[in-house]
Symmetry: C2
Subunit: 329 residues, 2 copies
DNA sequence: TTGTACGCGTTATCAT
DNA sequence: ATGATAACGCGTACAA
């Protein structure tokens, strides 16, 4: 079922049908006949053909590390809502945390979509190389990127505020559970926030209090075990993600420590589970869905501006956060 | 950058380049030149053009009620992993629980993708009408559908087993928190499981124990409040989703009831939070990700079989479940 | 207002 | 082995 068949059935030429579809000038009688035929047949113009002709795909590609992650899902929720309102459709690239797949999608989406939203963890030179080869705008979410537009949370201050909160509550020995520095936002920024907060309060950072693992749950568990086996265990533990904090709480609870009386625990991100833990996890709320919406709007704006690339985009967006006091501190 | 330019740069015709790209016979020297040019330029064939010519889009459309829902995210995770291994890309339609948007996506995807996976809640006659108009296979997930392939969990028996488990634990007065019957799987099947389990154990169902709300968290909270204000409150409560069960637990905990001593609580679905509640929520595990993977495989199989529609597909898939004993019963 | 003819990038057919 | 050409479905400049 194509536009020619519709034209035949309506007794007009395909140009007339095309005009009808695209708000062009069509006489009333032709208009009605076409309308009727289209309703009967349920005809919808093929988007691939439209894209071919117009050089606009009306498609946006999203690349995410793992779609079943709560944070990714929330970002995507924000993105898709905005985009579908604007008539865009969304192609999704789930990389399962594989950097190779990130590269693949960056290549595959290249001339298949009008723009890309890239939810990043680690940014390597190869990434920049691929960004260069893009002839469409790209917006990076969750990691700072040089020369390209990006949307991030203020990881440094969020972390710093969290530590200051712990210090305010009287803690002087604060354990830190972090992740590798390949992830700048989570691995470096949040650690720096921790270190700077201590320094400003004249508390000497102790290297044995600083534990680095991966993003897994078990990592939170095991590193807490290690912290608590120290000669002088910390009175509070800050984990750079809620997921880690939950692993941390598990260890403490299983081993009879009272939270927050024996050990206070603080996370970052405010995933849904945080509210349901016992005690409720004190953490920092991040606005992932709003962030997704913002990235979508920014991307659409870049597309409409007609630029071939979003390189050298001047301003970035740093999202605010909100400290959530619950009962684990 | 298109195939013609590559051809020019390599000093051959575009047909030769096309053959090079598609495993055709090309002389070694031509081959090498083309390879070189493609590497330099980073050329990738435009998928829209390929689709145009081949009548295959290599795209699959997924329609989900709400992407940021844990169950949906897990289903999508399963789907995308399977599909991307097979070289398909995924177009996502997030309907935000709007039935109108479901219709929209069913129309829009119609001649834009090679097949559709539809995660459904409510199936109306209008849905069937749109299914009819499809000229591509569709697989329905999470709801039974007449004449079309679908992949579901065994809601009836899952629910029944849950109730039997409660009965085994000595409960005779079991409250039920359900949802509207527009959702057949959750609203009807799970309720039937409850009723039949009681009947088989010669326990008379009491209408005041059966409370119906929506899917929200608050619903679980409020309906529990109502159940507990009954002259003779139940000794156990079964909620048809974990989300409702969690709302239920919240009410009980806030009001000083001990779980499971005063009231036992059981859910269904085994969302992540369930494991972290205190006490851990006893529930029934559903295999959402595997379900997604299965639906993807089935759809690919249908596509490869070359049928224009998946209507009258004979066999459906009913997934098993697993009872998870934790501490709320 | 309507219709004709062409082009978008690719693949398939057919000669050469 | 290679190249010219048609075809896919649609939009649009141009002619009528």
């Amino acid at each position: 079922m194509n536009i020619i068949e519709i034209a035949k059935l309506a007794g007009v030429s395909k140009s007339t049908v095309s005009r009808y579809l695209n708000d062009g000038y069509v006489s009333e009688e032709a208009s009605e006949k076409i309308k009727e035929v289209i309703e009967q047949t349920g005809f919808v113009p093929r988007r691939q053909a439209q894209a071919m002709r117009s050089q606009k795909t009306n498609l946006i590609g999203i690349i995410v590390p793992k779609i079943s992650t709560e944070t990714a899902a929330r970002v995507i929720e924000g993105i898709t809502n905005e985009l579908s309102n604007a008539g865009y459709e969304v192609l999704i690239g789930n990389t399962s945390q594989s950097i190779e797949k990130e590269f693949d999608y960056l290549k595959v989406f290249k001339n298949q979509v009008d723009g890309i939203i890239f939810m990043a963890t680690e940014i390597t030179p190869k990434h920049y190389e691929l960004f260069e080869q893009l002839h469409i705008p790209i917006v990076v979410v969750a990691q700072k990127v040089k020369d390209y537009p990006c949307i991030v949370h203020d990881d440094y201050h969020a972390s710093k505020d969290a530590i200051n909160y712990l210090i305010d509550k009287g803690h002087r020995s604060i354990g830190f559970i972090g992740v590798g520095e390949y992830d700048v936002a989570v691995g470096i920024e949040r650690k720096k926030g921790y270190l700077d907060a201590l320094e400003e309060q004249k508390i000497e950072a102790q290297s044995e209090y600083i534990q680095i693992g991966d993003f897994s749950h078990e990592s939170g568990f095991n590193l807490t075990k290690h912290l608590m086996s120290l000669p002088k265990p910390p009175s509070a533990i800050f984990a750079v993600t809620d997921n880690l904090a939950i692993g941390c709480m598990e260890y403490l609870k299983e081993n009879g420590y009272k939270i927050p009386d024996d050990v206070a625990v603080m996370g970052l991100g405010d995933i849904k589970i945080a509210a349901y833990m016992t005690p409720g996890l004190t953490t920092v709320h991040y606005h992932f869905q709003t962030m997704g919406a913002k990235s979508a709007n920014l991307l659409m704006q870049l597309i409409q501006s007609g630029k071939e690339s979003s390189k050298n985009y001047e301003s970035n967006f740093i999202f605010n956060y909100r400290l959530i006091e619950r009962d684990s501190v």
